[in-house]
Amino acid sequence: MSDIALTSAPAHLRHGSSIGQPLTRRDGPLKVTGEARYAADNHPPGMLFAVLAVSTVARGRVLGFDLAAAKGHPGVVEVMTPVNRPPLAGDPDGKESPFAFRMDVLQNDRVRYPQQPVAVVIAETLEAATEGAALLAPRYEAEPARVGLDGAEPFAPKVVGAGNPASARHGDVESGLRAASHRLEATYETPAQYHNAMEPHAIVAAWDGDTLSIDTPSQGMALTQARIAGLFGIPPAGITIRSPFLGGGFGSKGLLNGPQVLGILAARLVGRPVKLVLRREQMYGPVGHRAPTRQTIRMGTDAGGAFTAIANQARTATSTFDDFIEPAADVAHALYATPALLTGHDAVRLDTGTPMFMRAPGEAPGSIALESAVDEMAEACGMDPLAFRLKNYAEVEPSSGRPFSSKALRECYAQGAERFGWSRRPLAPRRMRDEAGLLVGWGMGTAIFPALMFAGHARAVLKADGTGVVETGAHDMGQGAWTALAQIAADGLGLPLDRIEFRSGHSALPDAGLAGGSAHTATAGVAIDRAGADAIAKLAGLATRDRRSPLFGAGNAGVVARDGRLHRRDDEARSEGYADILARAGLGEIEGRGTGAADPAAQAAFAMHAHGAVFAEVKVDPEFGQVRCTRLVGAFAAGRVVNPRMVRSQYKGGMVWGVSFALHEQAVTDGRTGRVMNANLAEYHVPVNADVPSLEAILVHEHDPHVNPLGIKGVGEIAITGTAGAVANAVWHATGVRCRHFPIGLEQLIGV
């Protein structure tokens, strides 16, 4: 575990800090008592209920509705269709920025995917709106659906993911492969997956003239506010967003989506507040998903098992009307040392909603394929998979040659392997059985996720009574931002946690940046820390310039903020309380501002990633092929750990996703209609407790002086990577069967 002696802490800080404490969630009591108010819990006076009518065809045109039936239904107030939908100032099919995704908000009669909203029924009750939507009975002119990775002509995208080049080359892969002693070429397939946050997408929207007030779960309030402003032609300042709690987001609540806009439009149309909540199956269309991938990996090693080349050509899918290309191949860029590296992507356009960032976008499907291939390569070399990975340990980032800002992956391998008992693993597959005769297999994978930062801002205030207020519009998707950011805030002001008020989850507060890319704690955290430092610096200025202060003249030596007092750095006995300093200066409060953003110079100089090593045990019934992941040990190094309890739960949650990726999760799509046939939580399988009986996350100490002033990397996504491949490799080790099609279904293992 990371010890939290603040070695790289800002100069004004000393120990006694909140950072590093395994505090429980400060919002926990609210949540377990039902007091935490999620978006859909709001009922402003006069509110109406809106329900989406969604398309059942994947492609075509809406010819008409039974409007009379819907409107005539008791309680129905209005039906919104393209005909009467209030105008928008901005084009929902416009592309003002790469983060503005095209959306379906009744701009025309086109249908471009199943579950696309085609009308909105607004009624006095949810029941009336629901029945009204059923009565609408849209008629369609349907065209054949384009489904699956072979369902359309592939095209070459310009960029993948959030704007990475679609292909990358380093060295000469072909000659590397020619020169190799061992070669592998294998194709891996991953399915479409849907985020399936427990909390469905929801919005409560209320207009007052041209000002708009909304409650909606958001991982990016500022971007959402700006996009709404553009679409409706109103100033961002006139839009208030409250998003104190999210019941999970996983990327599907990051950017404004069509149903949110439809809720706002509905409120506009009827002149009353409106609530719109998606049904579970409606989350399988307009709010994003992870696209399927097919990755063809080629690798070669020399006789000693050192890579001579790694190549991954990935096929994925996007919608017919927008681009989000799952950057699956890119995970190879930073993982294993190789003189030659080639990654590329192509994609097909299908009649689906546009794919979207989903927890570890690119990294998750990329990692299961790459880690599987690495395992196959190790087998081809006759090497233990851990020894093989150590042999190919990247001392510098292979794609760029940059050194790593920090990389404690060796320690992750060592601690994880030790804890798991990896050294007792037989090399050959199908060698272990438990006392009941079940096949037992052990597999491993390397985890990696880039340490990203967005731009975020914060405000810190020291008040006359010696307490503090810290504000930033951060987003708590359940990961614990209310707690971890408050810990940073307390340290930033040199106050105990119970003497600060931490305000968050509201668009009127400083923009904390997007809660995505595992970057939120680093981004908002650094902003908060800088804001605190700014306030303390001003306070110190008052004290050290004032002859009446015991700190007078300490300017050069500096002061340390601790427990509500400033101490002379070179003589800690000389100190003064915040309240006294402010009182003497006759100030009611003192304000600091701070920004967190990536440092371009550091980014140019260093490759920045979190790393981990995951070890999995599976048991497989030899005759039935039913698989259970009986043990998972993950060891992760991600810079400073702000709250070990929250971090561990992020890792465990990610590891559960990894199990899900390898064994359970997939959207089952009808090849004829393009409709997802398991759009519900009974049939869209994710692991239940019995599927993850033993999960252990080890926090490996890592000190990173370059990544940002707090030394924080991200922990939200990394644990899916590594884990999924570890589980798949364990299945091979148990059975001797290489499954390259995920999730691994029992029919792949029963040999019939």
Partner: protein, 352 residues
């Protein structure tokens, strides 16, 4: 809103009268029915709530060893009834392998028998489904059907019946007690559900208004208690419907199988009793060869209805294993992972 009438009759006779009207449906725990109503798959105009009917929530153990279980007994309550699980351990194990703890606490015996198929096309109003709309066609054919039927299906419907509970009931010769306008009648569970044939919309022998009041297991079914198991292969360790399941019960005499009972779940539109397989075991040694022979017999006539050929061999292996487990003896308690291949195996390994 979609208005429907909700009536709460005080007596069984009133319930039957109320439910005889066209468009009426009984409402028990609603764990299946309400989902179907929310999806628009079922649109009853009248719900007849059976939850307050007197006398339907009792488990009555007869002195001869048989049992009569009221239709309102909750799945969990039945499984945890000590006398019941001692006499009919495979039924308890099947019940505890179904759904989740929350659902088992609510779901009733009657509702479990009458739960509808999980065929995704049945639930999807945009798909053609003969069961939902007679004559519309069957979109499961040629669609996503890897979990569909391999036995007893027809060109008009390839769905399966999803109940776990019904599988050991079928093996053990349960009887369904039905109250109708004409009075009470008994129907063997094996005749209760119908195969699809040309009329998949007719799922059971119930006529409008017919109320299931109880399920009975005969005394002789308890004679299998020492060697009775349920085995359910799923796509996750818990909280999943069976890919294929089997109940196996043996009556052993002097080290030989005197009598065997076998039924399969997840293979057909009804719990599938394997009489031929049972016959093949009468007097046989309880060994792998006998069990495999029985398994072959159990799947006689099986045919894939789509991309599900793997289920046939899987079903054979499950039957053979369930028999081996039954031969090994009923464990003292239902294992912590009921009916799971991952349940800790008592005694010797059954995997070879």
């Amino acid at each position: 809103m979609n208005s429907f009438e909700f009536v709460r009759p005080a007596t069984v006779a009133e319930a039957v009268a109320a439910a005889s009207a066209p468009g009426a449906a009984y409402h028990a725990a609603g764990t299946n029915l309400l989902d179907l109503m929310k999806g628009g798959v079922a649109r009853p105009t009248r719900l007849v709530d059976v939850n307050r009917l007197p006398g339907l929530d009792r488990i009555e153990h007869a002195p001869d060893g048989g049992v009569r279980v009221g239709a309102l007994v909750r799945n969990a309550d039945l499984a945890h009834d000590p006398a019941f699980s001692r006499r009919f351990p495979a039924v308890a194990e099947a019940l505890l392998s179904g759904a989740s703890a929350q659902l088992r606490n609510a779901a009733t015996v009657g509702g479990n028998l009458l739960q509808r198929t999980r065929c995704a096309y049945f639930y999807d109003l945009a798909s053609a489904c003969n069961k939902r709309e007679p004559g519309a066609g069957c979109d499961a054919r040629g669609g996503e059907n890897r979990l569909h039927a391999v036995l007893g299906w027809s060109g008009s419907c390839i769905a399966t019946h999803p109940s776990d509970f019904c599988v050991p009931l079928a093996a053990l010769g349960a009887t369904v007690e039905i109250e109708s306008k004409a009075g009470r009648r008994d129907v063997p569970l094996l005749d209760f559900h119908r195969l699809p044939g040309a009329a998949p919309e007719r799922e059971t022998v119930l006529e409008p208004g017919d109320l299931v009041v109880a399920v009975r297991l005969p005394a002789e079914a308890a004679r299998f208690a020492a060697h009775a198991r349920y085995l359910k292969v799923r796509e996750r360790t818990s909280y999943a419907f069976a890919v294929v399941s089997a109940a196996a019960a043996l009556r052993m005499e002097a080290g030989r199988i005197a009598e065997a009972r076998i039924a399969l779940g997840g293979v057909a539109l009804k719990p599938w009793r394997a009489h031929d397989a049972e016959a093949a075991l009468a007097g046989a040694q309880p060994d792998a060869a006998s069990f495999r022979r029985a398994a072959e017999a159990a799947l006689t006539g099986a045919e894939p209805s789509g991309g599900n050929a793997f289920k046939i061999e899987l079903a054979r292996r499950i039957v053979a294993r369930a028999l081996a487990m039954a031969a090994g003896g009923t464990p003292e308690r239902v294992p912590a992972l009921p009916a799971s291949p991952f349940a800790p195996a008592p005694g010797a390994s059954v995997h070879v």
